[in-house]
Assembly symmetry: C2
Homo-oligomer: 152 residues x 2
Amino acid sequence: MPTRPASDLTTHLGYWLRFVFNHVSQAFARKVEAQGVTVAEWVLMRQLLDEEALAPSILAARMGMTRGAISRLADRLIAKSLLLRAADPEDGRAQTLALTPTGRALVPGLAALADANDAEFFAHLTSDDRAALFRILRGIVEQRGLASPPVD
Amino acid sequence: MPTRPASDLTTHLGYWLRFVFNHVSQAFARKVEAQGVTVAEWVLMRQLLDEEALAPSILAARMGMTRGAISRLADRLIAKSLLLRAADPEDGRAQTLALTPTGRALVPGLAALADANDAEFFAHLTSDDRAALFRILRGIVEQRGLASPPVD
DNA sequence: CTCCAGTAGTTGACTAGGAAACTATATCGA
DNA sequence: TCGATATAGTTTCCTAGTCAACTACTGGAG
């Protein structure tokens, strides 16, 4: 016996945000996984593309994951020969992560998949709507001072 | 040595969608978890609020999760005495899931948290922007014929 | 110098979900 | 009415995160 109506979830912008985001991200996951790479792996590799090498802790902060997660994620990429881990010559505690040539060669193709995925979901919008969506989302980020886009 | 620029991720609407969504959903997760409930548990309970009882397979479809995940999620809610599982009298294979009175009593408070969370992230927008965001997101859902909002 | 608080990274224990195998029941067709 | 096939739910195994404990190193205060 239903009690009182408890506000309709579908009136929440968060509901629709989740709905759209989940489809966008699952579609992208299928695309990159067809290339043998997970989304998290892609994000890490993309970070390294224009950086030569980065410390795991920097990647953790940028990707919004724990250092532990980055440690294991790096292990998986190393096992696939897409990444190299090396001791930092200047700090005995630190490690550096860098793409292998194979890893680096893989990134542009994955970036193309990211472009294709974005187009798949947003290209049909009018350019006004695309601009509005862009502006509103960025506005939320700025207004609330959000940082470090989490991967999860 | 950075190679070619591989399109900037931040030009992707999917990037900003993820960014905003992750913050919205993590903020909500913190709120409901302070009440001893996970987001998935809340979503399941909310589904049952206006339904009396539902089959696990229906919940799986509505929540975009596998039947296996629903089976375990139900176990957890049952362990918290928020849910009851009963054999369907009309089909020996089927089960029905229903809120306990305790579970039912918990939902409105959680719904209020959902309202508060939505307000926290979207209330500062102009009403035009809120309407535009709503219209654009729903448009994407409809234009692409998306269904069953996945929880993950 | 030496010690000690702080930092970098890894690891173990745990959680939550997916895929697929499995059990039990239902339904359809000959 | 019996057997084949389909369906509902559970369970096993796996993946990928978190949190917190741990190891090793650094760098400053005395």
